[in-house]
Symmetry: C2
Subunit: 195 residues, 2 copies
């Protein structure tokens, strides 16, 4: 069955989003063909405008000015929480359990994908640690081989005087031992606390 | 947590697509923020371009010229299969089981939503039936209260000389009686065939 090129283009674009396959993309685009011209133009413009979202010069999260509201907030503690992505920053900030600063690395080291230290915001982190006289860093990097390597690398390149912690791993609250993988159980046993 | 207006706009647009909630839309838009400017502009343009897809003047399916390839194909049988949407047309055409013409109604009658006969492509259907001297119509309208009413209405307004069939309802192939709803079972019993 022939579908028009314009539809095919839109389907191709949609299916580039993770979690959207060709069939879902086609269904979504067919739905969009029922929208009015103005609505479609607005949708298209909203997507193009994503290219213009500012990022904080310091920590790398979204912001409207040069620096984000967290970096501008002088009441924040002089601790930096290092995260991989802005999604992770949002998750932590939404938990309302942390009152320090952030730093978005932009990923983790992955030599196979060609992601070396220069692809990540590591130099900026070093500069901020010295400039802001931070002496406490929390690495909120996800547990994975690459994440572990990235944490080890950061520990190496940052001044030895700084206390560097990594967030704790274990059974999630509401989780069940029965359904948790054995690596998480081994981490949970390792991280046990005296009651 | 504040998110930038540009991100919020895109999230709002995405969550207008059926099947995409606010959380999915946010995750997808956060992913898009990692795309390059050119990629985002292309994506946006592809969506705006959906407004320019031509529809066949006769049957209403997508086409590049004034009339679609099905309507231009003189080998097609002089039967019209009436469907609600272009999605339904695609499903039937992909099955390769039908070699006649199509007609996209654009929905079903729904007085509660203000969809009357004038909102659907019914006058055009009448005109085509007379012009093309079609004497066989297949109503491939989905089974629902509104679908049933629409079929009854079409039967009423079309010339009585035309044979009008509705597609059969019953247990889908590969389906299991155990999991099928009772309305489908009653339709399947009603539509039983002598072996």
């Amino acid at each position: 069955l022939d579908i028009p090129n314009k539809l095919k283009d839109a389907v191709d674009q949609f299916s580039k989003i993770p979690g959207i396959g060709n069939k879902t993309a086609l269904r979504q685009c067919l739905h969009l063909t029922n929208w009015g011209r103005t609505e479609l133009v607005n949708f298209g413009a909203a997507i193009s405008a994503l290219a213009d979202i500012n990022r904080c010069e310091d920590c790398g999260v979204f912001c409207d000015d040069e620096r984000c509201s967290v970096c501008m907030d002088h009441k924040r503690e002089k601790t930096i929480c290092v995260v991989e992505t802005i999604n992770d920053y949002m998750a932590i900030e939404n938990s309302n359990q942390y009152r320090g600063l952030y730093h978005v690395l932009g990923g983790v080291l992955n030599p196979l994908l060609g992601i070396g230290p220069d692809s990540l915001s590591i130099d900026k982190l070093k500069e901020r640690v010295l400039r802001l006289e931070v002496n406490h860093l929390i690495l909120a990097v996800n547990p994975s081989v690459e994440g572990d390597a990235t944490c080890a690398f950061l520990k190496q390149v940052l001044p030895a005087s700084i206390q560097i912690d990594r967030i704790g791993f274990g059974i999630p609250i509401g989780g069940s031992l029965e359904y948790v993988d054995s690596l998480t159980i081994s981490k949970a046993l390792e991280n046990r606390k005296k009651m």
